[in-house]
């Protein structure tokens, strides 16, 4: 027994002695430091030979290798510096391609707007309505290239996602309440002025140009079927050159609204991720100004003030156009990150989903409202509900979660119906396509919703508008500062942008007249204004 105990003690002692080794607790000699990669390692990285490549690469394993890294000195071969430069260029290339492709999607929205507006108008005005939507692209672009882009972005400073845009560095600033107020940019006239012939500036121009044109084309819908073509051209030019760029500078170009956070401690300053305010509210508010000046279509209101419905001529076009717009919106909102790589840009996934959810919720909101109120699920208002949801989510899409998006969309869908009724029956302002309500009213709702629903989870490089942290609304613990910043933006849109648009269009009315002759309006504008019928084989009847 004693011998057994003795053996057991020896065994236990031995186990205690070796246990640390077994359990890895004993200090071990530090491992040799990893050998730093040298230029020689990089230069010696394996790459397929020309013979191997000549046989083709059906599975893609030989394409895109060390041999594709740009080399600064062919004698030395690839160096670590070359690799780092290539990584940086890859990041910016990804962001360039992302921004350009999403810009192309936004450009295609012009087609959606064109057929939505034309479908909602009468057949006798089809050519005129299409031509306004077609030429607003060129008229707006010309104005924006000449001066608009410089006013909007001439002082934006470095746009990190595009590799910096150093030439855009001159903002005109005035001092108010002891703080700097950015008013307009000064570099970038004709895209060559003061060094702006620059690859990053070109990408930024393309993306911002298609946004500006979206705002301009909103007005053509509200003023359709009675707007004199010459007046449309001048009015659109003024909007693309001055009205839109000025507000866009204040919100996106380093202007005073964006800096409400840094200067007055109001949240992260005025926030508008993709343009509910900058694009849609500016367009909708200008549409209201023009529609008020131009007056309603003949036959729209009876002497008693009763409103008559003037029916759309092609609901197929309308709903097809709505789908095109919803498709283009995937460029509008996710593209507004101006990049897919770095600085929290992987939010593009949630931005795209927020966009589609809000559009769905908007169409449901409008369809159910119309169904309950008028006993039919109205097609054109369901389409407008989709657009209203998309408009409303445009500003908050980068800052809210999916539940917030659906709530914002449903509210927008109902709001567009209420607003159409108010504009039509209370204000007696004729808006053939509902543009004032879809873009104006819901643009303002989208701006406001950030101050309520922003969940504080987004993080685009750690700050927004120069204020560190994430954009947070009242429902997620903000002290109300963000909501005030958003309301100041809304007050600027309603008080300043409306006034500027109204005065510009009064001047156009004074100079060339905004409205066509009644005879032309009754016949339809295709022949008197454009010289050719949109549908020459149709039998059209003039109202008499």
């Amino acid at each position: 027994m004693k011998i057994r105990m003795k053996r057991l003690l020896i065994l236990c002692s031995a186990m205690l002695c070796f246990a640390p080794f077994c359990l890895g607790q004993m200090p071990v000699a530090p491992a040799a430091a990893p050998k730093p990669i040298t230029d020689a390692d990089v230069a010696g990285a394996p790459a397929p030979t020309a013979d191997v490549r000549a046989k083709g690469d059906p599975d893609g394993s030989l394409t895109g290798t060390a041999s594709d890294v740009a080399v600064s000195d062919t004698k030395k071969g690839a160096t670590i510096g070359d690799l780092v430069n290539q990584a940086g260029q890859n990041k910016i290339a990804i962001n360039f391609v992302w921004t350009l492709v999403t810009g192309f999607l936004v450009m295609f929205m012009q087609a959606g707007f064109a057929i939505v507006e034309t479908g909602l108008c009468r057949a006798k005005n089809a050519n005129h309505t299409m031509m306004m939507n077609f030429m607003v692209y060129g008229v707006g672009m010309l104005a924006y290239w000449l001066i608009g882009f410089a006013i909007q972005m001439g002082g934006v400073g470095a746009v990190a996602n595009l590799g910096g845009t150093p030439p855009l560095n001159a903002e005109h600033v005035m001092t108010l309440f002891g703080k700097p107020f950015g008013i307009f940019g000064q570099n970038g006239l004709f895209l060559v002025h003061r060094g702006t012939y620059d690859v990053a500036v070109m990408v930024l121009f393309l993306f911002q140009m298609v946004f500006m044109d979206t705002a301009l084309t909103i007005v053509t819908g509200a003023a359709a079927e009675r707007w004199k073509y010459a007046a449309f051209v001048i009015s659109s030019f003024l909007m693309g050159a001055f009205t839109y760029p000025l507000f866009a500078n204040w919100a996106w170009g380093g202007g005073w609204l964006a800096n409400l956070g840094t200067n007055f401690n109001l949240g992260k300053g005025y926030c508008d991720f993709a343009g509910s305010g900058v694009v849609h509210a500016v367009g909708g508010i200008t549409a209201l100004a023009v529609s008020m000046i131009i007056g309603p279509r003949i036959g729209k209101y009876e002497r008693s003030g009763k409103s008559n419905a003037i029916l759309a001529h092609d609901i197929v076009l309308v709903l097809t156009g709505c789908f095109i717009l919803a498709f283009g919106w995937f460029g509008f909102n996710p593209g507004s990150t101006l990049g897919a790589s770095g600085n929290g840009n992987l939010r593009i996934g949630s931005i795209a989903v927020n966009t589609m959810l809000a559009g769905m919720a908007g169409s449901f909101g409008a369809m159910l409202y119309m169904w309950l109120r008028y006993n039919k699920p109205d097609a054109s208002m369901s389409g407008n509900g989709l657009l209203a949801g998309l408009v409303a989510i445009t500003a908050p899409s980068g800052f809210v979660n999916p539940v917030g998006s659906v709530i914002i969309g449903v509210v927008a869908g109902v709001l567009v119906c209420l607003s159409v009724e108010f504009v039509d029956r209370v204000m007696h302002v004729d808006d053939p396509v509902g543009a004032i309500s879809v873009h104006g009213t819901n643009g303002l709702w989208g701006v406001l919703s950030i101050g309520l629903f922003a969940d504080g989870k987004s993080n685009y490089g750690g700050s927004w508008n120069g204020v560190s942290g994430s954009v947070t609304g009242l429902f997620y613990g903000d002290n109300g500062g963000q909501l005030v910043a958003q309301l100041i933006g809304i007050a600027t849109l309603v008080g300043f942008v409306f006034t500027l648009s109204f005065v510009f269009n009064l001047l156009v009315d004074w100079a060339v007249g905004q409205r066509v002759a009644a005879k032309s309006e009754l016949e339809g504008l295709d022949l008197p204004e454009m010289g050719v019928l949109g549908y020459p084989e149709f039998e059209l009847k003039a109202e008499m």
Binding site: I298, K300, A491, V494, G495, G513
Partner: protein
């Protein structure tokens, strides 16, 4: 449907002086709402700023809906039949 006389011109509709004055006043009121909202930045409390901004917004909306739009409705073509 007869052609409203005011619309047959196809150019700048001649507004009566009272309507022109109303439009001028409407523009001033709408713009003053914006100025009031900007003046809220001179305050320190967010609650006070909120109140002043909402006041400015209301003033602008009154200028648009209550004054400018009413000026155009006063002599609207559809009222003449």
């Amino acid at each position: 449907m007869g052609l409203p006389e005011g619309q047959t011109l196809g150019k700048f509709r001649k507004l009566r002086s009272s309507e022109s004055m109303m439009i001028f006043v409407g523009i001033l009121i709408t713009l003053s709402g914006f100025v009031i909202s900007v003046l809220s930045l001179a305050l320190n409390s967010n609650a006070a700023r909120l109140a002043v901004v909402v006041l400015g917004l209301a003033v602008s909306l009154f200028g648009i809906v209550g004054v400018l739009n009413r000026a155009y409705l006063k002599d609207a073509i559809w009222k003449k039949g």
